[in-house]
Amino acid sequence: MADQPLTGGGTGVFAADGWQAALARRSEAVLIPLGALLAGFLVFSLFLLILGKSPAEFFALVYKAGFGTWFSWQNTLSRTAPLLFAALCVALPARLGLVVIGGEGAIVLGGVMAGGLAGAITGLPGPLAIPLLALTGGLAGAAWIGAVGALRHYRGVNETIASLLMAYIAIALMNHLVEGPLRDPASLNKPSTAPLADHLRIGDMPGMDVHWGLAVGIVCCLLSWVLIERTTWGFAARVAGGNVRAAQVQGLPVGRLIVGFTALGGAFAGLAGAFEVAAVHGSANGSLATGYGYTGILIAFLARHNPLALIPVAILLAGFEASSGLVQRRMGLPDATTLVLQGFVFIAILLSDTLYGRLRIFAPERWGRG
């Protein structure tokens, strides 16, 4: 490319400034994922048509069961909390250029550690014990995913594969613990840890049937956004994610950033496990591994790893999960239908990644040129 005079001549006047240019730059990150989401829905509709089902009925049912009434909203929002945490576990490492897909392992481990600890601290008052449970879950998750980051930086182990395989190890570890050392003898057909004492359980937020995990999850998203966009640590992480060689030449502590951000993501996922135990299941058992960690991957990619955008996307996906029971009963579609939908959307999102920077409408730098 030749050096073309693009400046307007005067001081501080740029050819591609102004609100249209700013809007174009910002809308790329919104419209491309939205388009991919719609494309995923379209392919899924074709899939339904091939099965002889009506896509219109499907989406109407999803709306009704996920967002139609206050009751369905509460159902959706209760499922949103673990998804937010799981998505943060993908989004934070992603800002450093790492693809971590093993959040499920941190959720499971955080849950089982919190469930195990709960039996030992029944003597403590709730306001002291509950933060301790959350902290334990968070630390377990942080250690698990932080180890993935450390393996990546110090030994060059691929973080995607490592985190996925470590998720299987975590699930096996949980099964071992709840069927062995931590098993409550009273849990007969579903091995579990001892049920949490009533004063250790996390209740619902006032005026709704949704536990406190949602509020904490939203706060964590907000704080993560502040960390990434408004602090020097977040900036350093973005530089390392943008070009690790440039970050090294600038002397940025790339290793510490990688371990720190993966550990923080893991801490959020571990927190999700602690909330599942203390607010939903009442004890740690196999129900911890229900795939929130994997849905979180889809949410993070749809939200372009922006912690603020995670919130609406997580609510949307939670709505689909909340409606799967109704869809099953009314349309005779199996439970896995939601997974098929998620799969189509995910493929569309990955494909849409090739569109960034290609569409002239989003690139004000190229507006004036032939």
Binding site: D3, G12, F14, D17, A21, T232, Q248, V249, G251
Partner: protein, 509 residues
Amino acid sequence: MTVKSTNPQGALGVETVGMTMRFGGFTALDHVSVGVAPGSFHALLGENGAGKSTLVKCMMGFYHASEGQLMVGGHEVEVPDPRAAHALGLGMVYQHFTLVPSLTAAENLVISRGDTPQVIDWRAESENLRAFMAKMPFSVPLDQPVRALAAGEKQKLEILKQLYLGRKFLILDEPTSVLTLEEADEVLGHVRSLCEAGQISVLMITHKFREVTAYADEVSVLRRGKLVGAGKVADLSHADMAAMMMGDQAPAAPADRAGQSGAPVLSVSGARALDRSGLKDVTIDALNVREREIVGIAGISGNGQMEFMEILTGQRPVKAGSIVVNGTSYHATREEARINCVRYLPEEPLHNACAPKMSVTENIAFRSFDMNGSGTRFWLSNSEMRCRAAELVEAFKVKTASLDSQMASLSGGNVQRAVLARELTGEVDLLIISNPCFGLDFSAVAEIRARIMDARNKGAAVLLMSEDLDEILELADRVLVMSEGRIAYECRADEADVATIGHHMGGHA
């Protein structure tokens, strides 16, 4: 020069006549006529960017010459693409291997053929291969995976592959750059004997005078896209070849140089690290750069300059030795770089010093985003970053559509200006630079060199690694030559003798 068409054993004579290649306004190749007689071993010498690669790419059909003809076997031919060149019997062996590491030598040979059938009859193929190998003056183990072969064996296999494919004229592009001295001698010895037997003719691109003298019959020298010398190797000394390669260049009028050099800022002693191949060491025994001094490190690329840069930026672990800046031990942490005012300008700035998808504002902030006056900060200040970027873009005349534009949307010259703006603002004690003007146009080059000289005159110690000898002679106070991972030669720039420097760059001390 008239070239006989072929000889009885089949070696092809190939000749370029007035070959010219223009890229836009830039003439990479200017009426170059090189003739390779059948069965001869011809060396093509020249500095980086002299046009050697362009010439052979025109011959092989990768480029279409703007003017001039290619004569193969005495007939003028058209070579629209590499496949046409192959059909004529022209083949090329590259600097780096093009073999599939997980396949055996036999499999590599068979799949390299264009006419491999869908179902391969391996028994017949291996019989054919054995018969083929029996006729060759050297051989390689056929049934081992290629990754198990030594570099020299791989290069022999590359040459065998060309013979297997029936090529009668080989272009070797720096075939020994990844080989040890012994391997290089063995491979080139075999090539030489094939030429003497009249089976092939060879045109070899090289920087190494030793190889030219030992193996080639004739030599052509390119400089700045022009053929500046040619002749029988027997008639030429290394000094003659160096003089032709470098030209009788007087260093360009140096930019204004002011002030005397002072105390040492950077001292490197006995620093040793693995090179990128992981097999050899790069060793810097002793190097000092003083304030108000530019030390230029000349050398052909791939002789350890990249590794030395990575040692200095802390990207490559050091096995031994010490690096001292301003009297204290230096490990290239952000804090040490800040305290000692050390700045880096790596080569290919978009690739090594920028985040291409971040904005111009953010890229300009890389060095200062965590600074608040003389202290550090935790909260980012977007408004300060923006102000600073606007100021520097103005002061360094960076042409960008907007401060919010992605760095990758800027042209090469403007990326380098933006990086210079970031690194040269404020007090600079030590400036470490690699190929700052690579790929830039003339006006940008002059401006960037002036800024480097300006930093020196203001008191900075400058370490300049460059493959462009003219650049070094123009800017440096002292010239070092790096060869085979070591500093091979040192002299003052005003006493520099181009032929001697070229001699050492060519690895012939």
